[in-house]
Amino acid sequence: MVVMRVRIDAERCQGHGRCYALAPELFAADEIGDGVVIGDGRVEAAALDRARLAVANCPEQAITIEEAD
């Protein structure tokens, strides 16, 4: 089975906070409210919909989901 992983482009992130509001098991806020990926960013099957939601709601388009190696 393909394993997916989320990534945040820190250059694009401006701290809107949509990712950690929508998928708190995958993302957290740092001390200034920018989004950070929790752990290695692996997305369990149960969290895939929420990962996609985070991608679709990031105003800066800073989040990607890709296949983990």
């Binding site: 409210g33 709601n57 105003p59």
Partner: protein, 400 residues
């Protein structure tokens, strides 16, 4: 308002203070987007108005060619000498100065910091509701929405809640008075800074646990902030924190008052509220920003001149059908919602987490107290013109 001639041609002579724009700007933006996606005006010393999402985003991201030295489209442009900080740092600052000035503020407005303010915000909303109970008709804008951010921000900054009327006067002048002649604009700003100066001096003599003292103890580039800079940043937070959030709360209550199906669904499914709030922010985005063109250039075919304005309408961008399906409809369970109500790029609203918390708590408390409510008199609803749009008179019938 009535400071200017009514607009007859939106493509060549737009005016964000026009009465028609204030009452219902959506058809204006839709028509411009289809026929003339970057409108222009000779008012306010010249300006441009992009209405497509991608054009608004392009301006927001292009801090090289569009300066934030002034962000309110008026006859007044902040003096060049105030750069790089600008009149109200960091909203009025450009890179590279902007980054550290903003970073200094962000921890205060982080989600974690905002969480700590939720209980007091909720208690205050409940206090306001208690005073409305038992009445037939209340003004949800003037008697509820308006008071919430005033109290929250006054406590954060360290200004007396009792000065709420004075704050509203300043906000009304700075945001509501954008069409005023330059002398009156300057006079109003001096009054605001005069008021803040007294409180800052008092904080210098008697430091306490609030934002004014925090800023007075902060350093930028290894230098402590001077009192004038503290006053400008506090002025920004006071002005930016009040009628923006007030507008968002008011517009949300207005929508639910006129849309029984959405109101009933949110009463039945309170868990949907965070999703609904994003849609209400998209559809009724309160805040429009402005930029100044840095140097003469042609941009998307428009001959822009240095010091002309670009009105950065996030509200118009959020209604662009190329960016959102069924952009003109309010769909309270919309899942994919990459709206730009809090801006895009380096000037993303620093208070967005606070605003979202206030909006959610205000609506939770309102809906729990008044599950049945509707517009008492739709024709009596009035909307603020200019760059912050929301209902200022909102008579609502409550059946508690």
């Amino acid at each position: 308002m009535g400071h200017h001639e009514p607009v007859t041609d939106w493509e060549t002579d737009f005016d964000h203070t026009d009465d028609v724009w204030a009452a219902d700007p959506f058809p204006i933006w839709d028509e411009l987007r289809a026929k003339c996606p970057v409108a222009r005006t000779t008012r306010y010393g010249g300006g441009w108005l992009p209405t497509r999402f991608e054009d608004v985003a392009a301006v927001a991201y292009d801090t090289d060619r569009f300066s934030s030295r002034s962000v309110l489209m008026t006859e007044f442009r902040a003096p060049m000498e105030l750069a790089p900080a600008g009149i109200a740092p960091p909203i009025s600052s450009d890179p590279p100065y902007h980054k550290d000035a903003r970073r200094m503020l962000l921890p205060i407005f982080s989600p974690q910091a905002v969480d700590r303010l939720e209980p007091s915000t909720r208690a205050y909303c409940e206090e306001l509701i208690d005073e409305l109970r038992g009445r037939d008709v209340v003004d949800a804008a003037a008697e509820y929405a308006q008071h919430i951010p005033v109290r929250v921000i006054a406590n954060m900054l360290g200004l007396p809640e009792a000065d709420a009327d004075a704050f509203r006067g300043f906000v009304d002048h700075v945001i509501g008075g954008v069409a005023l002649p330059i002398e009156q604009r300057v006079e109003g700003m001096l009054a605001l800074f005069g008021y803040l100066q007294g409180h800052i001096e008092d904080h210098i003599a008697h430091p306490r646990e609030d934002l004014i003292s925090f800023l007075l103890e902060s350093e930028l580039d290894g230098q402590p902030l001077d009192a004038f800079q503290v006053a400008r940043t506090i002025g920004l937070l006071l002005i930016a924190g009040i009628d923006t959030t007030w507008s968002a709360i008011g517009a949300s209550i207005w929508h639910l008052a006129k849309t029984p199906a959405d109101r009933q669904r949110l009463v039945a499914e309170p868990g949907l509220l965070p999703t609904a709030i994003e849609e209400l922010l998209r559809a009724y985005s309160p805040v429009t920003m402005a930029r100044l063109v840095r140097a003469d250039m042609e941009w998307h075919g428009c001959p822009m001149k240095a010091e002309e304005w670009v009105l950065l309408s996030f509200p118009a961008a959020n209604r662009d059908p190329d960016a959102f399906e069924r952009a003109d409809e309010v769909i309270i369970d919309r899942q994919d919602n990459r709206h730009a109500a809090f801006g895009l790029g380096i000037h993303r609203c620093a208070g967005s987490h606070l605003a979202r918390m206030e909006l959610r708590v205000a609506l939770e408390v309102w809906l729990a107290a008044f599950p049945e409510f509707g517009l008492a008199d739709p024709d009596a609803v009035t909307w603020a013109a200019g760059q912050v749009r929301g209902p200022r008179c909102l008579p609502v019938r409550i059946e508690a």
